[in-house]
Structures are given as structure tokens and as C-alpha cells.
């Protein structure tokens, strides 16, 4: 069954610490490295084999090059804590690529706005590369608690906002973006947002206020990542429910990115 996509043990070749508890892990996995499109994710077991923790954790693919791919891990629970401590030479068990890519090839915009909150940066280097390849202009608005938590590699056209004012705009990246939009400084924009729920809601209402297309890449609890467990529903906006008869869609197979107008956070 050569066409089967089984999970694969993947050797970790590079671990880089960006900030305490924030690391990137580079691993060998030719299929994931070659096939992943910007915005797709992988489902990673903290430890090879069945154990405790039991479930995989979903991560957007942060970068790919040759036969290797990278994820960015922020330790915030037991599973991600174990993952963040993975050492070079150890193996990860990785399932992927999963989900749908960012819809950056849509015709409804000229300038992409990459709106990043914290570790929501995960899919943005891949999106940056895709936009550069397509020669689509873009601006990046990156919000973080403090300057040391910004993973700025492979991003471009960067506008930084920090909660503590340690770098760039003192406040949220959505507030910063608003100042640009009010000055009419961005040509026919579309927002690509990934970050905490509060930022996503703010992006949703900002996009609605300015009549801008907006896509949100969601992070939810997830078990299987392939549409079986039904554990990662996102609520459809009322008109979508009326059209489709479906109250929910699944983040894993129908997302992770959605048109901001079509979902309720």
C-alpha cells in the first residue's frame, strides 16, 4: 500500500531556542517538507509510541527546505512542554501534511496583511515565502507580549507591536493596523490572521468595519487531525448555517483557516 500516508518517525536535526519555552524543531520528513503548503499543519506525538500524554498536538508547518520541515513550539502544557524539550538526534512521530492551505491566491485583494499574535506566527514564514513567489505585496503586523518573544526569522515588511512597549508600537497589532487603514495607506488589503482568540475577534470586527476580506487560521483542541473524532468544531455564522444546514465545521479538515465572515468565535 505505497499510497498510504502513515505517520512517520522523523529525526530531529536542529533545535533552536528563540526565547525561554519557545523553540523551533527541525525534522527530516521528505514528504511533509515537499508537499506542505503555507497554512497546512502536522499532528505531532510528544513521544514516539503510545504513552501519556496520549494525543498528538497540531502545529502549523513553520518552514520547509529540502527534506526537512520545522515547527515552532511554545511550552504551555505537559505535551508541549515535553515537545519543547526534544533534543537533536531524538525522533518525533509526525502525521501530515493536514488541513487546507491559506487562500492567498484569491483575486479579492492586492496587498496581504499578515496579522500575527504571539505563537500565531507559526504559518507566517511559509505564507511570506508563498507571497514573495507570487509577487504579491504584503505587510506584516506582529503583536507580542514583549520584544524577546518575537520569532522574526523569515518575515519581511515587519511592523511590531508589544504589550509592554519594549519594541515598536506600544499596544496591540490590531490597533497598529487600524492606524494604517485609517490613513488609507494599504492598497486593497486582505487580512491573514493567526493569534489568540481576542486578537482574532478584533481582526474580525476590524475587517468588517473596513469591509476588508479576512481569513482566520484557528487553533483548537484536536485529537485525530483527520476528520474522524469530530473534536474540533467551529461554529458557523448564522447565514452559513441556514445555507448548509450545518451548525459546525471541523477545523482539522475544513480549516484551519476560514473566511472571518463565516464563523463565530
Amino acid at each position: 500500500m505505497a499510497d498510504l500516508f502513515l505517520s512517520q518517525r522523523s529525526l530531529v536535526t536542529k533545535r533552536r531556542v528563540i526565547a525561554p519555552g519557545l523553540v523551533t524543531l527541525r525534522f527530516q520528513n521528505p514528504r511533509i517538507a515537499r508537499e506542505t503548503l503555507a497554512g497546512q499543519f502536522v499532528n505531532v506525538l510528544p513521544k514516539v509510541g503510545f504513552g501519556d500524554p496520549m494525543l498528538r498536538r497540531p502545529f502549523s508547518v513553520y518552514w520547509s527546505e529540502g527534506d526537512e520541515a520545522e515547527i515552532i513550539v511554545q511550552a504551555h502544557g505537559r505535551g508541549t512542554g515535553i515537545l519543547a524539550e526534544t533534543r537533536e538526534g531524538e525522533e518525533l512521530d509526525v502525521l501530515g501534511p493536514l488541513g487546507k492551505p491559506w487562500m492567498y491566491q484569491s483575486a479579492d485583494y492586492e496587498t496581504a496583511i499578515l496579522l500575527i499574535g504571539g505563537v500565531g506566527v507559526a504559518s507566517m514564514p511559509m505564507l511570506t515565502r508563498a507571497l514573495e513567489l507570487e509577487e504579491i505585496s504584503f505587510q506584516t503586523f506582529y503583536g507580542a507580549r514583549t520584544a524577546s518573544l518575537i520569532a522574526r526569522d523569515r518575515l519581511s515588511n515587519l511592523h511590531i507591536a508589544t504589550d509592554d512597549g519594549s519594541e515598536g508600537f506600544h499596544g496591540s497589532n490590531v490597533m497598529l493596523l487600524r492606524t494604517f487603514l485609517e490613513k488609507d495607506g494599504i492598497e486593497k488589503p486582505k487580512i491573514f490572521a493567526c493569534g489568540p482568540t481576542a486578537m482574532m475577534r478584533a481582526a474580525q470586527s476590524l475587517a468588517a468595519e473596513f469591509g476588508i476580506p479576512c481569513e482566520l487560521s484557528l487553533e483548537t483542541e484536536m485529537a485525530c487531525g483527520i476528520g474522524i473524532c469530530q473534536g474540533c468544531p467551529v461554529r458557523n455564522e448564522e447565514s452559513i448555517f441556514e445555507q448548509s444546514g450545518r451548525r459546525f465545521r471541523l477545523v482539522c479538515t475544513e480549516g484551519p483557516s476560514f473566511n472571518a465572515k463565516e464563523i463565530v468565535l
Binding site: 498510504l4 500516508f5 506525538l45 496520549m54 483542541e221 474540533c232 479538515t253
Partner: protein
């Protein structure tokens, strides 16, 4: 299991099992709700290596399922509160069942409902649209995550018997009742199913459990409580399979936390005729195939020829047995 008969001149173990008149190629099924309707997992699992697929619970009308959060990981397991999200029986027979018919493996349709009549109507609608590899039905009277139906049947012996009798009249295919562990003793339920003519009982469904966010004081699942599954529940499942086996004379399908072939073997020894692999599919979509292959290896190494040689082979010392253990 290729070339097994040639390896070292040893005889290949026979993994096939018979339930009623149906022969399954091996005793490993994938559990309802952990394998969708087949299409979702096709890319990730060689479906024809499975003994069979128990499909996601289907009800008369489609069900939306519960709002998030629907799943939470717990120690060696997980809580779920999916709420029987499903496509409804009409879409099931129009799209899902014909799709499943392509696979050389057995299909068992799992049915969930909120009334006796709904259970019967769903079963009869599937029966009227049956495909060749449809082996039978598993009746879910044990879902802890819906307000109507489900557990209200599964925790009442009389209603269990009445429902089983009703459904028995509607099909000659395998009729398997899925029992809940959320009762004082599973034995009278297994006996009620046997009296009413069920071909088998399957157990256990999930255990009612909960998890709390200590900072917000909120339950971590939207429905406050949910169903616990995974390796955490395996010892409970084994004990209940053992009790069901002692209580009734019909086949027992064991499940609860099986992730390896060794886990499955424990269930056979405790009294299960077949097993189902559930939550493990969420980690490895081909977990059922891994268990079936591992079982063949185990049997070969242990020189066990047939699965039935393992079934109900628990050795309890005579004095313990005499004392009622």
C-alpha cells in the same frame, strides 16, 4: 501476515472468527465514532486489513453535535462530548454505506436513537438498503453525551430487553448491543440482551467523567461531563468483559483502551470473542491494523493456532473460584 506460513516452517495462525453465520477475517474491529464512515481514514489505513468497521452512530435525522469544547486530554486518556454528531440515516444509506461496500471487510452499522421507534426505523431503513458486506448492527444504548435516549436505555434492564426484542424482530443480521460501564453491574444487562435474542454484547462504552479548569472554576467540556476513553479505562473494561462473559452465553466484543496487540490478548483471555480498537485510532489511524498484525505475531510466537484458543482462557485458581472470584 504475508508469507507467514513459510516462515520457519511454522503454521500460520488462523485469525478468522465466526460470529453467528458471519466470518470475520480477524477479530479486530474499529470502534464506532473512532473511524468515521471509512472515507476519512482511507488515506491513512489499509482498511481491508481490519476485521471490520463499526460505523459512527447514525440516527434518523442528522445531529449537529455539541458545541466546543468537545474533547479534553486526561491522564492516559481523553474525555469527549461529541454528542453523536452524524449525517442521519438517509445520507448514511445513500452515500456512506455504498462507499463502504467497496471494501473487502465487514461493516457493522452503529445506531443511536432517542426512542424505541427511532431505533427500529433507523435499523429497518438500513436493512432495506443493505449492502453485501453489511454484517449487522451495533445498538448504542450507552452514549453519555446526549440528553435524550442513549443512557436512559442502557441503564435500565427492562428497557434494554424490550428494545433488543423489538430490534431482533427486524433483522436476521448480527445484532450486537453496546453496553455502558456506568451501571452497578453489567451482568443483568448482558443477560437481558441474551434473553431478547441478541447475537452479542459489546462493551465498554465510555465512562462518565469530568475535568475542571481550576483558574476559572469552569468545566473543561461544554457539557460539564463527558465520556472517558483510552488506556486509562482498560482495567475497568477488562473487569466488565470478564463479568459479562461469566453472566451470559452469547459472544462478547471487548473494548476500552486497546492500543496494542497485547492489550487485545488480555481481552481475549478475559472472555472477549472479538475486540474493538477505539481511541487509539485518533493517534494512529491504522491502530486497528497494527493490533491485528501484532496479534498474528503474538499467536505465531506463542504457537496459538486459533483466536478461540485464547478466548476465555483466564486461569483462576480453584480455591479462588470456589470462593466466588
Amino acid at each position: 501476515m504475508k508469507n507467514s506460513s513459510a516462515t520457519n516452517g511454522k503454521v500460520a495462525p488462523d485469525l478468522s472468527v465466526k460470529l453467528g453465520t458471519v466470518t470475520f477475517k480477524n477479530p479486530v474491529l474499529v470502534a464506532s465514532g473512532t473511524f468515521g464512515y471509512g472515507a476519512e481514514a482511507k488515506q491513512w489505513c489499509d482498511i481491508e486489513q481490519l476485521g471490520g468497521i463499526v460505523t459512527k452512530s447514525v440516527s434518523w435525522k442528522p445531529r449537529m453535535g455539541n458545541p466546543p469544547h468537545r474533547i479534553i486530554e486526561t491522564a492516559s486518556g481523553m474525555l469527549n462530548s461529541i454528542g453523536l454528531a452524524n449525517v442521519g440515516v438517509h445520507t448514511f444509506v445513500k452515500e456512506k454505506l455504498p462507499y463502504l461496500a467497496q471494501f473487502d471487510t465487514k461493516i457493522i452499522a452503529n445506531i443511536a436513537a432517542s426512542s424505541m421507534e427511532e431505533y427500529r426505523d433507523v435499523l429497518e431503513h438500513i436493512e432495506a438498503n443493505a449492502v453485501e458486506n453489511l454484517a449487522g448492527y451495533e445498538i448504542n444504548i450507552s452514549c453519555p453525551n446526549v440528553k435524550d435516549g442513549g443512557l436512559s436505555f442502557g441503564t435500565n434492564v427492562e428497557r434494554t430487553e424490550e428494545l433488543t426484542t423489538l430490534l431482533r424482530a427486524s433483522t436476521d443480521r448480527i445484532l450486537m448491543i453496546k453496553l455502558t460501564p456506568n451501571v452497578t453491574s453489567v451482568a443483568p444487562f448482558a443477560q437481558a440482551c441474551e434473553r431478547a435474542g441478541a447475537d452479542a454484547v459489546s462493551l465498554i462504552n465510555t465512562l462518565v467523567g469530568m475535568s475542571i479548569d481550576i483558574y476559572t472554576h469552569e468545566p473543561r467540556l461544554n457539557t460539564v461531563t463527558g465520556g472517558l476513553s483510552g488506556p486509562a479505562i482498560k482495567p475497568i473494561a477488562l473487569a466488565q468483559v470478564y463479568q459479562a462473559r461469566k453472566a451470559c452465553g452469547i459472544p462478547v466484543i471487548g473494548m476500552g483502551g486497546i492500543v496494542t496487540a497485547e492489550d487485545a490478548v488480555e481481552f481475549f483471555i478475559a472472555g472477549a470473542d472479538m475486540v474493538q480498537v477505539g481511541t487509539a485510532n485518533f493517534v494512529y489511524p491504522d491502530a486497528g491494523v497494527r493490533v491485528a498484525e501484532g496479534l498474528a505475531d503474538f499467536m505465531r510466537k506463542q504457537k496459538i493456532e486459533r483466536v478461540s484458543d485464547l478466548v476465555n482462557s483466564l486461569r483462576v485458581r480453584a480455591e479462588l473460584k470456589a470462593a466466588g472470584w
